[in-house]
Subunit: 202 residues, 4 copies
DNA sequence: AATGAATGAGAATTCATTCAT
DNA sequence: TATGAATGAATTCTCATTCAT
């Protein structure tokens, strides 16, 4: 029965994922409110009612998606510590990684962000789960860089905000359909790195 | 009768504004979909039906808000040409202006952006009305700067995207409740200017 | 002032007619319920509110149209007495007259009949105003014909109903879009007369 | 599961009928436009929303009713071929049948006709579904009768239209509240048969 | 657990009618 | 009298959620 329970749990988990995949697709395409449970159920190839065996309500699906982003983040989180050697290379590589994560989860972000911008409790959870941890990891790192003179002494908090907001802003520009951003996505880490590290002035 | 017509027109315009103000408030607070016509009408202190004398439907209210942003933009648009003297000062002042506009229209953006991210036809109109004109004005300016060696030769398109995405990203961070961004809003132009013009490296 | 009053009255009457003309058109095209006061006002080139200076409410417009049919009927009513000479000719001419009236008021009937079929108080008024008077006039006439042996002794009531129902039915077939009926309208009196007077059997 | 599916299908069909019955009643009483979904749902003893599980919208209910008339017609359709023996008897019996069908579906016709008179797309469907098939069946029959001299040579198209319009007209007279027609309904086939076959002239 | 029909609260929208100008 | 903006009751339709099977 122990084994049975495990199988059960796996099946349950698989079903959850199946529904979340469907939700990602439908939310991204239609937006949270215009997406219907029927559509998600259809996409997931289950009955409407089945969804309620795995999620309390429609909003709970969004929380499930938030957790997914969180997992992705944590998987990538180690990376920042792996940065060795020359800072410039590290920084560009870091940007590449972050931007790849964003691109790979475009649909996920398109599904979540609009609703997060509008739903207060979701907003808090988003900030605590997704945003704050990133800053916590990065803050010490930037402070160390400043301490050993690798980068200029600037308000660390704001520095981090500006950099991550740039990425967020580019993501949203992409979501809003800016083709220049979409097409140059691969080159952007280099461009950003050049601007942010050396500046526009000659 | 000419006078009468004018009074009529003024009254009509005032009523439109009254409704758009209410819509801004309610959309920003509840989001486009959870906001109801009843709530907006209540906030505007008119009957539900009155709204439909001025706007074809709920979505048309959003278009009305888009036009408002557009007007704000156009009023500010001249500014960039007014930039004389030293580029560094100009750039910082430009950022200050843009960020003040963003802050002053925070509710407006909070009302519009989430729906724009999700509604394709709105997205197109948003891009054409709000985004593209900004780029058109800025592009020539940046090219001139590069031509006379004031700034490094970089892909103008991407440069503009990175800068405006930074502002957009900060706006959204602010909307998402990032207190550090909210509190430092005044100082951000200086910080961004320092980073973007001179870079992080010492 | 007496003259003034007369002019006033003429103007009022003209305006009423103007509105009724518009109502006929719009009701016929859209049906009573889908027709809006705004549309009728637009067609009549008056303001919405003006209509309420001449008619108590939307249904009252229908009553106005009923009265119009009634007037038409009365103008034609004398005709039946004018019938002299050979009965066969008279009958055919009578049918021609009735059918011309129907055809000339096609829009009017299309506007009224559907609503009369559904609105009880209108139905009663329709019957009393339009239908019953016709029968009253015709009944004596047919009885006389039977008395002098011009036509067979049949239940006069039913005979009249059958004949007028045939006309009503053809009108409605026409309204329902039956092209054969529409195209043959001119020939129908002859056909009907032949059938009704001499029968199908050889 | 096959059995289960069948039970399901039966239940579904029963529910559809239940809703159509209710719609017939309410449409006939109030007319299509004044009838509300709430009333129909109440009459059918289901929730408002349930109706939309079976019909796309309010108009689709009317189409459902049209199909019902169509079925009735088809069930009766064979009859005309069953006509053997003496034509006079056949004709009278045929009229009896048709008029019984009309009477038995009085509410149905009252529900449908007014809207059909006003709604173009419904009108086309009505003609194609209900009217045209009848004529197609009857046309050959009448031609045969003329060929073998049973009836006079008259324009078949018009002959059919006149006869069926008479029935339609009587139906509508009945719907409009003509008591003489209502009361004499049983005798009408005999009267019509006498008139149409032998004529009014002695 | 899975199903999907039933539910009914809730929202957008329409439009006859009123009434201040 | 004429106007047409304002009103708000009324209606259709949607869809998250429940629950009997």
């Amino acid at each position: 029965m122990g084994k049975n329970t495990t199988i059960q749990a796996l099946r349950t988990e698989a079903r959850r994922e199946q529904v979340l995949d469907a939700a990602t697709k439908v939310f991204a395409k239609k937006g949270f409110h215009k997406a219907t449970i029927k559509q998600i159920a259809g996409e997931a190839e289950v009955a409407d009612g089945t969804i309620y065996n795995y999620f309390a309500d429609k909003t709970d699906l969004l929380l499930g998606l938030l957790d997914r982003i969180n997992e992705t983040n944590q998987r990538q989180g180690h990376f920042i510590e792996a940065g060795k050697g020359d800072f410039e290379t590290f920084f560009r590589t870091y940007l590449e990684h972050r931007m790849n994560v964003l691109r790979d989860n475009l649909a996920l972000f398109q599904a979540i962000l609009p609703e997060v911008m509008v739903n207060e409790s979701l907003r808090e959870r988003y900030y605590e789960t997704i945003v704050a941890p990133t800053y916590r990891v990065a803050e010490d790192y930037f402070k160390a860089l400043q301490a050993n003179g690798t980068i200029k002494p600037l308000d660390t908090q704001l520095l981090m905000r500006v950099i991550s907001s740039t990425l967020l802003g580019l993501l949203i520009s992409s979501l809003l359909g800016d083709e220049a951003v979409q097409e140059a996505w691969e080159r952007l880490p280099t461009v950003i790195s050049e601007i942010v590290l050396r500046g526009l002035l000659p």
